[in-house]
Symmetry: D2
Subunit: 146 residues, 4 copies
């Protein structure tokens, strides 16, 4: 990480947990919060046939959803209790086909402005004992009053 | 569209239909092929609670998945029967919160190289009689032997 | 363009002209304002050897600079006299090698929020009587008090 | 860096030097090669008024040009003597206004395929004794026969 951050909300861990429990899409897909700290977050997902594209790889949209939500949660760890996060835009490179038993994602805040937060998010595929980087993205998020 | 395209596969419509039927993630989400022609594709999705993020809007990952798969299908309309498409990377801007009964996406190829295809994809939300542009992205796809 | 816009500054044309005259980098490169209206802008550049990369094509950085500044000017046409524009981020695809006598760029605002403006920008190369699309990008800009 | 790389060209350092000497745009701007190794490159630039935008900051186009060319050189360190590199696309976030005496950029390859190389590139501004991250981007480059 490029700098260290102080969360504006002392109860930020509960706030980030809520970003997972209250998001129907994330619940439906099965993406789980693994760990969170000030300015970073980690998530996991067990891959199932319903997550794949036509050639048997994790769908680019699934991989990006995981990277995006993990970025939102990393950003959410820094905001005040009366603020919320919306994704403004992102770019993601799918570096290798996503093949394996599960995915792991880690997002880190690289710039925390008052109105705009920028993160980097990486997604890895776990296959047997091997972990491979399959995607990397940069995300721009907006901090808004709730 | 910036130019007109000739599909390499005369049976490209069946090939594009298969991109939807054979993709578990797209089937699970409920994204449907609406129409396809040489270098373009249109899709629709009826919004449900399982598609939303924590504040009740269509999840950015869902919107991007729709834009991505529609781009893949627009690209898939141009390739030979023994080729396949993989997303190399994309960038998407979420322009407005996705609120409404359904989403509509249209993707258009803006450059069809032998190895790389580039598309633009837009996503609209339908709410009552109103249709609003909620996202716009640029996608880079790779053409590979099957 | 997806919608029509009303400039907040009645004298927006002068304000946009100043974005060119007062930018040392744009002056040094020779990028010229061709035309501007509410939410759009067009620029031109005569190509010289000092604009090229190692293989004789217009440098990607030059093409992107032109697309970026034209986007900034399209955005600048909409803001108040006491506001300024900064590029938050952008993504650009270099679709074809930039070869020819001159470049032409057109940027259009696709979303004008109070704090964030999003544009699309295209760059074309003119060679003899032919004009080819060589780059397309999406730009996110921030509206700030001066 | 995520992995270590073996250059295909034993004389890769000369090849990368040529990417700077033979690029008119890079020479004209004053961007200098600082160091290069397998899969990475570092460059520097002394800031002058001709590099700035209308508010006195390093122009986004300049910052991106530096990040792009440094990415091209990092990629160029890995290719064969009869191959060349073209930028397919990139995305860059301008994290802070570029203010200071000089810029420093470091690019690292994060995925080296046979046809496509992906890099990350960071740009820092040096002001007095302080160095600040001002931009971060992801670049997709194409490996082509010369």
């Amino acid at each position: 990480m490029y700098e260290s951050f102080n969360p504006a909300n002392p109860d930020y861990k509960s706030a980030v947990h809520a970003l997972f429990h209250r998001a129907g899409f994330i619940q439906a897909l099965g993406i789980q919060l693994k760990d969170v700290g000030p300015g970073w977050c980690e998530t996991t997902l067990t891959l199932e046939p319903r997550h794949l594209q036509q050639d048997g790889f994790a769908h680019a949209g699934l991989v990006a959803t995981m990277a995006d939500h993990t970025s939102g949660a990393a950003s959410g760890s820094l905001i005040a209790a009366n603020e919320m996060i919306l994704t403004v835009e992102y770019k993601i490179n799918l570096l290798r086909p996503g093949v394996g038993e599960s995915l792991f994602s880690r997002a880190e805040v690289i710039r925390a402005g008052k109105r705009i937060i920028v993160t980097e998010s990486a997604v890895f595929a776990n296959r047997g004992n091997e972990q491979k980087l399959i995607a990397k993205g940069i995300f721009t998020l907006s901090v808004l009053p709730k």
